[in-house]
Protein backbone atom coordinates (compact mmCIF):
# COMPACT_ATOMS: atom_id res chain seq x y z
CA UNK A 1 0.00 0.00 0.00
CA UNK A 2 1.46 3.29 -1.11
CA UNK A 3 2.08 5.91 1.54
CA UNK A 4 1.36 9.59 1.03
CA UNK A 5 3.34 12.18 2.94
CA UNK A 6 1.76 15.33 4.26
CA UNK A 7 3.19 18.26 6.17
CA UNK A 8 1.04 20.21 8.60
CA UNK A 9 1.20 23.93 9.37
CA UNK A 10 3.57 23.44 12.29
CA UNK A 11 6.11 21.55 10.19
CA UNK A 12 5.30 18.01 11.26
CA UNK A 13 5.25 15.29 8.66
CA UNK A 14 2.80 12.39 8.62
CA UNK A 15 2.52 9.32 6.44
CA UNK A 16 -0.94 8.25 5.39
CA UNK A 17 -1.94 5.10 3.59
CA UNK A 18 -3.01 5.98 0.09
CA UNK A 19 -6.61 4.78 0.36
CA UNK A 20 -7.11 6.80 3.53
CA UNK A 21 -5.47 9.89 2.11
CA UNK A 22 -7.87 9.67 -0.82
CA UNK A 23 -10.80 10.00 1.60
CA UNK A 24 -9.87 13.66 1.69
CA UNK A 25 -11.28 15.29 -1.43
CA UNK A 26 -8.72 18.06 -1.14
CA UNK A 27 -5.74 15.69 -0.98
CA UNK A 28 -7.21 13.56 -3.73
CA UNK A 29 -7.46 16.55 -6.06
CA UNK A 30 -3.82 17.44 -5.59
CA UNK A 31 -2.73 13.81 -5.90
CA UNK A 32 -4.57 13.50 -9.19
CA UNK A 33 -2.45 16.26 -10.63
CA UNK A 34 0.90 15.78 -9.00
CA UNK A 35 3.24 12.90 -8.37
CA UNK A 36 2.54 10.81 -5.34
CA UNK A 37 6.15 10.99 -4.30
CA UNK A 38 5.87 14.65 -3.39
CA UNK A 39 4.98 15.83 0.04
CA UNK A 40 1.62 17.53 0.20
CA UNK A 41 1.58 20.77 2.14
CA UNK A 42 -1.40 21.37 4.36
CA UNK A 43 -0.97 24.89 5.70
CA UNK A 44 -4.39 24.90 7.27
CA UNK A 45 -4.04 21.71 9.21
CA UNK A 46 -2.47 21.58 12.61
CA UNK A 47 -0.55 18.51 13.73
CA UNK A 48 -2.91 17.72 16.62
CA UNK A 49 -5.76 17.74 14.11
CA UNK A 50 -3.88 15.36 11.85
CA UNK A 51 -3.36 13.05 14.82
CA UNK A 52 -7.10 13.09 15.50
CA UNK A 53 -7.91 12.37 11.88
CA UNK A 54 -5.52 9.43 11.77
CA UNK A 55 -7.02 8.21 15.04
CA UNK A 56 -10.44 8.28 13.42
CA UNK A 57 -9.30 6.28 10.40
CA UNK A 58 -7.57 3.72 12.57
CA UNK A 59 -10.69 3.24 14.66
CA UNK A 60 -12.87 2.83 11.56
CA UNK A 61 -10.56 0.18 10.18
CA UNK A 62 -10.67 -1.65 13.50
CA UNK A 63 -14.47 -1.65 13.47
CA UNK A 64 -14.61 -2.65 9.82
CA UNK A 65 -12.46 -5.68 10.54
CA UNK A 66 -14.48 -6.49 13.63
CA UNK A 67 -17.92 -6.23 12.03
CA UNK A 68 -17.01 -7.03 8.45
CA UNK A 69 -18.81 -3.99 7.06
CA UNK A 70 -17.27 -1.45 4.71
CA UNK A 71 -18.26 1.62 6.68
CA UNK A 72 -16.29 4.05 4.58
CA UNK A 73 -17.89 2.93 1.35
CA UNK A 74 -21.35 3.29 2.75
CA UNK A 75 -20.53 6.76 4.00
CA UNK A 76 -22.70 6.03 7.01
CA UNK A 77 -21.71 8.42 9.71
CA UNK A 78 -23.81 7.41 12.60
CA UNK A 79 -22.96 3.75 13.11
CA UNK A 80 -19.94 4.62 15.14
CA UNK A 81 -21.84 5.21 18.34
CA UNK A 82 -19.36 3.48 20.54
CA UNK A 83 -16.53 5.21 18.79
CA UNK A 84 -18.18 8.59 19.06
CA UNK A 85 -18.52 8.29 22.79
CA UNK A 86 -14.75 7.80 22.87
CA UNK A 87 -13.99 10.57 20.42
CA UNK A 88 -16.26 12.92 22.28
CA UNK A 89 -14.65 12.57 25.70
CA UNK A 90 -11.36 14.30 25.06
CA UNK A 91 -12.54 16.77 22.45
CA UNK A 92 -13.30 20.15 23.96
CA UNK A 93 -15.77 22.49 22.27
CA UNK A 94 -12.93 24.58 20.92
CA UNK A 95 -11.13 21.56 19.56
CA UNK A 96 -14.35 20.38 17.97
CA UNK A 97 -14.74 23.78 16.38
CA UNK A 98 -11.21 23.73 14.93
CA UNK A 99 -11.55 20.16 13.80
CA UNK A 100 -14.83 20.93 12.00
CA UNK A 101 -13.12 23.64 9.97
CA UNK A 102 -10.17 21.43 9.13
CA UNK A 103 -12.18 18.38 8.16
CA UNK A 104 -14.46 20.55 6.06
CA UNK A 105 -11.39 21.98 4.33
CA UNK A 106 -9.95 18.55 3.74
CA UNK A 107 -13.29 17.31 2.47
CA UNK A 108 -13.45 14.08 4.49
CA UNK A 109 -17.16 13.38 4.27
CA UNK A 110 -17.45 10.52 6.71
CA UNK A 111 -15.57 12.27 9.48
CA UNK A 112 -17.43 15.51 8.82
CA UNK A 113 -20.76 13.73 9.29
CA UNK A 114 -19.57 12.34 12.59
CA UNK A 115 -18.34 15.69 13.83
CA UNK A 116 -21.58 17.43 12.85
CA UNK A 117 -23.42 14.74 14.72
CA UNK A 118 -21.20 15.30 17.77
CA UNK A 119 -21.83 18.99 17.64
CA UNK A 120 -25.57 18.45 17.24
CA UNK A 121 -25.56 16.15 20.28
CA UNK A 122 -23.97 18.91 22.31
CA UNK A 123 -26.75 21.32 21.39
CA UNK A 124 -29.57 18.94 22.18
CA UNK A 125 -31.84 19.64 25.08
CA UNK A 126 -30.20 22.99 25.68
CA UNK A 127 -32.12 26.18 26.06
CA UNK A 128 -31.29 29.08 23.78
CA UNK A 129 -29.26 30.81 26.52
CA UNK A 130 -27.21 27.69 27.26
CA UNK A 131 -26.45 27.26 23.57
CA UNK A 132 -25.16 30.79 23.39
CA UNK A 133 -23.03 30.42 26.51
CA UNK A 134 -21.68 27.03 25.57
CA UNK A 135 -20.58 28.07 22.12
CA UNK A 136 -19.78 31.69 22.79
CA UNK A 137 -22.18 32.90 20.12
CA UNK A 138 -23.01 36.56 19.85
CA UNK A 139 -26.64 37.34 20.48
CA UNK A 140 -27.49 39.47 17.44
CA UNK A 141 -31.26 39.69 17.74
CA UNK A 142 -33.02 42.74 19.14
CA UNK A 143 -35.76 41.95 21.71
CA UNK A 144 -38.38 42.80 19.09
CA UNK A 145 -36.83 40.53 16.48
CA UNK A 146 -36.55 37.74 18.98
CA UNK A 147 -40.20 38.05 20.00
CA UNK A 148 -41.15 37.77 16.34
CA UNK A 149 -39.31 34.56 15.71
CA UNK A 150 -40.12 33.04 19.07
CA UNK A 151 -43.33 31.46 17.83
CA UNK A 152 -41.86 30.26 14.57
CA UNK A 153 -41.58 26.55 15.24
CA UNK A 154 -44.22 26.20 17.91
CA UNK A 155 -46.45 24.82 15.19
CA UNK A 156 -44.36 21.70 15.26
CA UNK A 157 -44.33 20.80 18.90
CA UNK A 158 -44.85 22.37 22.25
CA UNK A 159 -42.68 21.85 25.24
CA UNK A 160 -40.48 18.84 24.81
CA UNK A 161 -38.84 18.62 28.17
CA UNK A 162 -35.68 20.64 28.02
CA UNK A 163 -32.85 20.35 30.49
CA UNK A 164 -30.96 23.42 31.62
Amino acid sequence: MKKISVRTSDGQEFELEENLAMESATIKTSLDAFSRDDIILLPNVNSWEMVKIIEFFTKVQELETKFGVKFMEKKEGRFLEAFQAEFDKDLSDDNLYCLLWTVDYLGIEVLLENLCHLMAERTKNKTVESCRNLFGVQHDYTPEEEAEIREDYSWAFEGPEIEE
Binding site: S30, D38, N95, C98, V137, W155
Partner: protein, 345 residues
Protein backbone atom coordinates in the same frame (compact mmCIF):
# COMPACT_ATOMS: atom_id res chain seq x y z
CA UNK B 1 9.51 19.81 -5.49
CA UNK B 2 6.22 21.09 -6.72
CA UNK B 3 3.76 22.56 -4.32
CA UNK B 4 0.04 23.04 -4.30
CA UNK B 5 0.04 26.55 -5.55
CA UNK B 6 -0.04 26.08 -9.33
CA UNK B 7 -2.29 28.35 -11.29
CA UNK B 8 -4.54 25.53 -12.43
CA UNK B 9 -5.47 24.71 -8.90
CA UNK B 10 -6.26 28.15 -7.72
CA UNK B 11 -10.01 27.82 -7.90
CA UNK B 12 -10.09 24.36 -6.47
CA UNK B 13 -7.69 24.39 -3.62
CA UNK B 14 -6.00 27.71 -3.10
CA UNK B 15 -9.21 29.72 -3.02
CA UNK B 16 -10.63 27.45 -0.39
CA UNK B 17 -7.29 27.44 1.39
CA UNK B 18 -7.17 31.23 1.39
CA UNK B 19 -10.64 31.38 2.83
CA UNK B 20 -9.61 29.05 5.60
CA UNK B 21 -6.24 30.74 6.06
CA UNK B 22 -7.97 33.99 6.94
CA UNK B 23 -9.81 32.14 9.61
CA UNK B 24 -6.66 30.17 10.34
CA UNK B 25 -5.10 32.65 12.65
CA UNK B 26 -8.06 32.37 14.95
CA UNK B 27 -8.11 28.66 15.11
CA UNK B 28 -5.41 27.91 17.57
CA UNK B 29 -6.79 25.86 20.42
CA UNK B 30 -4.42 27.56 22.84
CA UNK B 31 -6.20 30.89 22.45
CA UNK B 32 -9.53 29.95 23.88
CA UNK B 33 -12.46 32.17 24.69
CA UNK B 34 -11.80 35.26 22.64
CA UNK B 35 -11.50 33.58 19.23
CA UNK B 36 -14.33 31.10 19.38
CA UNK B 37 -17.24 32.12 17.21
CA UNK B 38 -19.49 29.30 16.15
CA UNK B 39 -21.72 31.58 14.12
CA UNK B 40 -18.76 31.95 11.79
CA UNK B 41 -18.91 28.37 10.63
CA UNK B 42 -19.73 28.06 6.91
CA UNK B 43 -23.53 28.05 6.46
CA UNK B 44 -23.50 24.61 4.80
CA UNK B 45 -21.80 23.20 7.87
CA UNK B 46 -24.27 24.86 10.22
CA UNK B 47 -27.11 23.38 8.16
CA UNK B 48 -25.59 19.93 8.38
CA UNK B 49 -25.45 20.33 12.14
CA UNK B 50 -29.02 21.62 12.31
CA UNK B 51 -30.15 18.59 10.31
CA UNK B 52 -28.58 16.22 12.77
CA UNK B 53 -29.95 18.10 15.76
CA UNK B 54 -33.38 17.36 14.37
CA UNK B 55 -36.84 18.78 14.69
CA UNK B 56 -36.93 19.07 18.45
CA UNK B 57 -33.72 21.05 18.74
CA UNK B 58 -34.99 23.46 16.12
CA UNK B 59 -36.99 25.38 18.67
CA UNK B 60 -33.85 26.54 20.48
CA UNK B 61 -31.46 26.35 17.56
CA UNK B 62 -33.25 28.88 15.42
CA UNK B 63 -33.23 31.55 18.10
CA UNK B 64 -29.53 31.48 19.01
CA UNK B 65 -28.42 34.00 16.40
CA UNK B 66 -29.09 34.99 12.80
CA UNK B 67 -26.59 32.63 11.25
CA UNK B 68 -28.03 29.67 13.13
CA UNK B 69 -31.52 30.83 12.18
CA UNK B 70 -30.76 30.69 8.43
CA UNK B 71 -29.10 27.33 8.88
CA UNK B 72 -32.27 26.06 10.58
CA UNK B 73 -34.50 27.17 7.71
CA UNK B 74 -32.15 25.67 5.16
CA UNK B 75 -32.09 22.36 7.03
CA UNK B 76 -35.85 22.18 7.63
CA UNK B 77 -36.95 20.22 4.54
CA UNK B 78 -34.41 17.51 5.23
CA UNK B 79 -35.25 17.43 8.94
CA UNK B 80 -38.94 16.97 8.23
CA UNK B 81 -38.22 14.26 5.71
CA UNK B 82 -36.11 12.35 8.22
CA UNK B 83 -38.38 12.75 11.21
CA UNK B 84 -41.64 11.87 9.52
CA UNK B 85 -40.50 8.78 7.69
CA UNK B 86 -39.60 6.66 10.64
CA UNK B 87 -42.83 4.87 11.29
CA UNK B 88 -46.11 5.87 12.88
CA UNK B 89 -46.33 7.97 16.02
CA UNK B 90 -48.27 6.98 19.11
CA UNK B 91 -50.36 9.39 21.15
CA UNK B 92 -51.37 8.46 24.70
CA UNK B 93 -53.84 10.36 26.86
CA UNK B 94 -56.36 9.78 29.65
CA UNK B 95 -59.08 11.62 31.50
CA UNK B 96 -56.99 12.29 34.58
CA UNK B 97 -54.51 14.75 33.12
CA UNK B 98 -54.54 17.54 30.51
CA UNK B 99 -51.06 16.43 29.48
CA UNK B 100 -50.69 13.89 26.73
CA UNK B 101 -47.62 12.04 25.55
CA UNK B 102 -46.48 11.34 22.03
CA UNK B 103 -43.86 8.83 21.01
CA UNK B 104 -42.47 9.62 17.59
CA UNK B 105 -41.42 7.06 15.00
CA UNK B 106 -37.80 7.73 15.82
CA UNK B 107 -38.38 7.10 19.52
CA UNK B 108 -38.48 10.65 20.88
CA UNK B 109 -41.01 11.40 23.56
CA UNK B 110 -43.01 14.62 23.67
CA UNK B 111 -45.23 15.87 26.42
CA UNK B 112 -47.90 18.34 25.44
CA UNK B 113 -50.73 20.04 27.21
CA UNK B 114 -53.96 19.25 25.38
CA UNK B 115 -57.02 19.77 27.60
CA UNK B 116 -59.07 19.61 24.39
CA UNK B 117 -58.70 15.84 24.52
CA UNK B 118 -60.49 15.53 27.83
CA UNK B 119 -63.24 12.89 27.83
CA UNK B 120 -62.87 12.27 24.10
CA UNK B 121 -62.49 9.08 22.13
CA UNK B 122 -60.59 9.18 18.86
CA UNK B 123 -62.36 7.36 16.05
CA UNK B 124 -60.00 8.07 13.16
CA UNK B 125 -57.02 10.14 12.14
CA UNK B 126 -55.84 11.91 9.03
CA UNK B 127 -52.22 13.00 9.31
CA UNK B 128 -52.17 15.38 12.26
CA UNK B 129 -55.99 15.54 12.50
CA UNK B 130 -57.94 13.51 15.05
CA UNK B 131 -61.66 12.74 14.68
CA UNK B 132 -62.91 13.02 18.24
CA UNK B 133 -66.20 12.14 19.90
CA UNK B 134 -66.81 13.83 23.21
CA UNK B 135 -68.62 11.79 25.84
CA UNK B 136 -71.39 13.51 27.67
CA UNK B 137 -72.45 16.02 25.05
CA UNK B 138 -72.10 13.69 22.07
CA UNK B 139 -70.33 16.25 19.95
CA UNK B 140 -68.01 15.21 17.14
CA UNK B 141 -65.15 17.38 15.92
CA UNK B 142 -61.81 17.37 14.17
CA UNK B 143 -58.81 18.46 16.21
CA UNK B 144 -55.30 19.03 14.90
CA UNK B 145 -52.92 17.78 17.56
CA UNK B 146 -50.11 20.20 16.80
CA UNK B 147 -51.75 23.41 15.69
CA UNK B 148 -54.73 22.84 18.03
CA UNK B 149 -57.13 23.91 15.34
CA UNK B 150 -60.69 22.63 15.78
CA UNK B 151 -63.39 21.94 13.19
CA UNK B 152 -66.82 21.18 14.60
CA UNK B 153 -69.15 18.73 12.87
CA UNK B 154 -72.95 18.53 12.87
CA UNK B 155 -74.44 16.77 15.89
CA UNK B 156 -73.78 13.05 15.73
CA UNK B 157 -76.99 10.93 15.85
CA UNK B 158 -75.66 8.55 18.53
CA UNK B 159 -75.16 9.95 22.00
CA UNK B 160 -72.87 7.16 23.09
CA UNK B 161 -70.18 5.09 21.47
CA UNK B 162 -70.38 1.32 21.41
CA UNK B 163 -68.33 -0.43 18.75
CA UNK B 164 -68.01 2.59 16.48
CA UNK B 165 -65.24 2.62 13.89
CA UNK B 166 -64.58 5.42 11.40
CA UNK B 167 -62.53 6.58 8.45
CA UNK B 168 -61.78 9.98 6.89
CA UNK B 169 -61.23 10.52 3.18
CA UNK B 170 -58.85 13.49 3.26
CA UNK B 171 -57.92 16.54 5.28
CA UNK B 172 -60.97 18.13 6.96
CA UNK B 173 -59.77 21.47 5.65
CA UNK B 174 -60.78 20.36 2.17
CA UNK B 175 -64.31 20.85 0.84
CA UNK B 176 -64.29 17.28 -0.45
CA UNK B 177 -63.73 15.67 2.93
CA UNK B 178 -65.98 12.72 3.76
CA UNK B 179 -66.36 10.96 7.07
CA UNK B 180 -67.96 7.57 7.60
CA UNK B 181 -68.71 6.03 11.00
CA UNK B 182 -69.96 2.45 11.22
CA UNK B 183 -71.45 0.58 14.15
CA UNK B 184 -73.70 -2.35 14.86
CA UNK B 185 -77.21 -1.05 15.56
CA UNK B 186 -78.56 -4.48 16.48
CA UNK B 187 -77.80 -8.17 15.91
CA UNK B 188 -79.13 -8.10 12.39
CA UNK B 189 -77.99 -4.71 11.23
CA UNK B 190 -74.93 -2.53 10.70
CA UNK B 191 -75.38 1.19 10.33
CA UNK B 192 -73.07 3.64 8.59
CA UNK B 193 -73.32 7.38 9.09
CA UNK B 194 -71.81 9.47 6.33
CA UNK B 195 -71.02 13.16 6.28
CA UNK B 196 -69.84 15.21 3.33
CA UNK B 197 -68.11 18.04 5.16
CA UNK B 198 -68.37 20.69 2.49
CA UNK B 199 -72.06 20.11 1.76
CA UNK B 200 -74.06 18.48 4.54
CA UNK B 201 -75.67 19.97 7.59
CA UNK B 202 -76.52 16.54 8.94
CA UNK B 203 -75.33 12.94 8.89
CA UNK B 204 -76.82 10.48 6.40
CA UNK B 205 -77.74 7.08 7.87
CA UNK B 206 -77.27 3.96 5.77
CA UNK B 207 -78.27 0.51 6.95
CA UNK B 208 -76.74 -2.79 6.01
CA UNK B 209 -79.05 -5.60 6.94
CA UNK B 210 -77.69 -8.54 5.01
CA UNK B 211 -75.96 -9.79 8.08
CA UNK B 212 -76.20 -13.38 6.97
CA UNK B 213 -73.66 -12.37 4.34
CA UNK B 214 -71.50 -10.37 6.63
CA UNK B 215 -71.47 -11.22 10.30
CA UNK B 216 -68.04 -10.10 11.29
CA UNK B 217 -67.15 -7.50 13.93
CA UNK B 218 -65.69 -4.39 12.39
CA UNK B 219 -62.26 -3.56 13.76
CA UNK B 220 -60.89 -1.06 11.31
CA UNK B 221 -62.05 1.29 8.54
CA UNK B 222 -60.17 2.96 5.73
CA UNK B 223 -61.01 5.12 2.73
CA UNK B 224 -59.64 4.52 -0.74
CA UNK B 225 -60.63 6.12 -4.08
CA UNK B 226 -64.28 6.70 -3.37
CA UNK B 227 -64.85 3.62 -1.25
CA UNK B 228 -64.98 3.17 2.50
CA UNK B 229 -63.70 -0.26 3.50
CA UNK B 230 -64.48 -1.99 6.76
CA UNK B 231 -62.31 -4.78 8.08
CA UNK B 232 -63.54 -7.35 10.51
CA UNK B 233 -61.75 -9.53 13.02
CA UNK B 234 -61.53 -12.37 10.56
CA UNK B 235 -59.95 -10.43 7.68
CA UNK B 236 -60.86 -12.75 4.92
CA UNK B 237 -63.51 -10.45 3.56
CA UNK B 238 -64.10 -6.74 3.73
CA UNK B 239 -67.33 -4.81 3.59
CA UNK B 240 -67.28 -1.79 1.30
CA UNK B 241 -69.45 1.26 0.85
CA UNK B 242 -69.03 3.28 -2.30
CA UNK B 243 -69.77 6.97 -2.16
CA UNK B 244 -69.53 7.93 -5.80
CA UNK B 245 -72.36 10.28 -6.73
CA UNK B 246 -73.87 9.46 -3.37
CA UNK B 247 -75.02 6.11 -4.78
CA UNK B 248 -74.07 4.42 -1.50
CA UNK B 249 -73.74 0.84 -2.66
CA UNK B 250 -72.67 -1.89 -0.33
CA UNK B 251 -70.50 -4.77 -1.42
CA UNK B 252 -68.31 -7.50 0.00
CA UNK B 253 -64.81 -8.18 -1.29
CA UNK B 254 -62.74 -11.30 -0.75
CA UNK B 255 -59.14 -10.88 0.23
CA UNK B 256 -56.24 -13.02 -0.93
CA UNK B 257 -53.38 -13.60 1.45
CA UNK B 258 -49.88 -14.31 0.24
CA UNK B 259 -46.71 -15.19 2.16
CA UNK B 260 -44.84 -12.17 3.42
CA UNK B 261 -41.92 -12.37 1.04
CA UNK B 262 -44.01 -12.65 -2.08
CA UNK B 263 -45.62 -9.25 -2.25
CA UNK B 264 -47.12 -8.23 -5.56
CA UNK B 265 -48.44 -4.88 -6.76
CA UNK B 266 -51.45 -3.91 -4.72
CA UNK B 267 -50.27 -5.71 -1.61
CA UNK B 268 -51.31 -4.39 1.76
CA UNK B 269 -50.01 -5.28 5.17
CA UNK B 270 -52.28 -5.82 8.15
CA UNK B 271 -51.30 -5.57 11.74
CA UNK B 272 -53.93 -6.55 14.23
CA UNK B 273 -51.55 -6.66 17.16
CA UNK B 274 -49.20 -3.72 16.71
CA UNK B 275 -49.52 -2.49 20.27
CA UNK B 276 -49.74 -5.97 21.74
CA UNK B 277 -46.30 -6.73 20.36
CA UNK B 278 -44.81 -3.61 21.86
CA UNK B 279 -46.94 -3.35 24.97
CA UNK B 280 -44.31 -3.74 27.65
CA UNK B 281 -41.83 -1.61 25.76
CA UNK B 282 -44.44 1.09 25.17
CA UNK B 283 -45.41 1.14 28.82
CA UNK B 284 -41.79 1.65 29.80
CA UNK B 285 -41.26 4.45 27.31
CA UNK B 286 -44.44 6.20 28.41
CA UNK B 287 -43.57 5.87 32.07
CA UNK B 288 -46.54 3.66 32.97
CA UNK B 289 -45.71 1.57 35.97
CA UNK B 290 -49.04 0.28 37.23
CA UNK B 291 -51.45 -2.06 35.52
CA UNK B 292 -53.19 -0.28 32.67
CA UNK B 293 -55.61 -0.85 29.85
CA UNK B 294 -55.29 0.93 26.54
CA UNK B 295 -57.81 1.15 23.73
CA UNK B 296 -56.25 2.26 20.49
CA UNK B 297 -57.37 3.80 17.26
CA UNK B 298 -55.41 2.50 14.30
CA UNK B 299 -54.10 4.16 11.18
CA UNK B 300 -52.52 3.60 7.81
CA UNK B 301 -48.78 3.88 7.58
CA UNK B 302 -45.98 2.70 5.34
CA UNK B 303 -43.77 -0.22 6.15
CA UNK B 304 -40.93 -1.11 3.82
CA UNK B 305 -42.65 0.74 1.04
CA UNK B 306 -46.03 -0.98 1.41
CA UNK B 307 -49.20 0.45 2.92
CA UNK B 308 -49.77 -1.07 6.34
CA UNK B 309 -53.02 -0.98 8.28
CA UNK B 310 -52.66 -0.85 12.02
CA UNK B 311 -55.95 -2.06 13.48
CA UNK B 312 -57.80 -0.80 16.52
CA UNK B 313 -56.96 -2.76 19.65
CA UNK B 314 -57.89 -3.07 23.29
CA UNK B 315 -55.04 -4.24 25.46
CA UNK B 316 -55.01 -4.77 29.18
CA UNK B 317 -52.63 -5.85 31.88
CA UNK B 318 -55.38 -7.94 33.47
CA UNK B 319 -54.43 -6.61 36.87
CA UNK B 320 -57.19 -5.47 39.19
CA UNK B 321 -56.16 -1.84 38.80
CA UNK B 322 -56.06 -1.96 34.99
CA UNK B 323 -59.71 -1.14 34.67
CA UNK B 324 -59.23 2.01 36.70
CA UNK B 325 -56.17 3.13 34.75
CA UNK B 326 -57.61 3.36 31.30
CA UNK B 327 -55.74 5.21 28.57
CA UNK B 328 -56.60 6.10 25.02
CA UNK B 329 -53.99 5.42 22.38
CA UNK B 330 -53.92 6.79 18.88
CA UNK B 331 -51.61 5.70 16.09
CA UNK B 332 -50.82 8.60 13.80
CA UNK B 333 -48.96 9.17 10.59
CA UNK B 334 -48.42 12.92 10.64
CA UNK B 335 -47.22 14.93 7.68
CA UNK B 336 -46.37 18.49 8.41
CA UNK B 337 -46.54 20.98 5.57
CA UNK B 338 -43.34 22.49 4.26
CA UNK B 339 -44.68 25.94 4.86
CA UNK B 340 -45.20 26.19 8.61
CA UNK B 341 -46.86 29.60 8.51
CA UNK B 342 -50.20 27.95 7.76
CA UNK B 343 -50.13 26.44 11.24
CA UNK B 344 -49.63 29.66 13.17
CA UNK B 345 -52.44 30.28 15.58
Amino acid sequence: MTGLFGNRFFTRILKKATFYAIKGGRRSPEKQKEIRDWSDLPPELLSLIAERAGLFALQSFHRVCKAWNSASSAALPQILETELNQGPWFLLYDDKSPKCKVLTGSGKKLIMSRPELDRTTCLATYQGWLLLFQQGCGSMFFFHLFSRRRIDLPQFPDSELTDHVAAVSCSPTSQDCMVCVISRSNDAELEAKVLYLGEDQAWTKLKYSRSRVYTGTIKFAVYHTGIFCFFDHRNDRILTLSTENRAHNWSVINLIFSPKNQSRPGTLLFDRGELKKKFDDMKKKMGLTKGVSISTCGTITLSEGLPKFIFNEIISDHAEESKRNHFKGVWMQPRLKQNPSTYKR
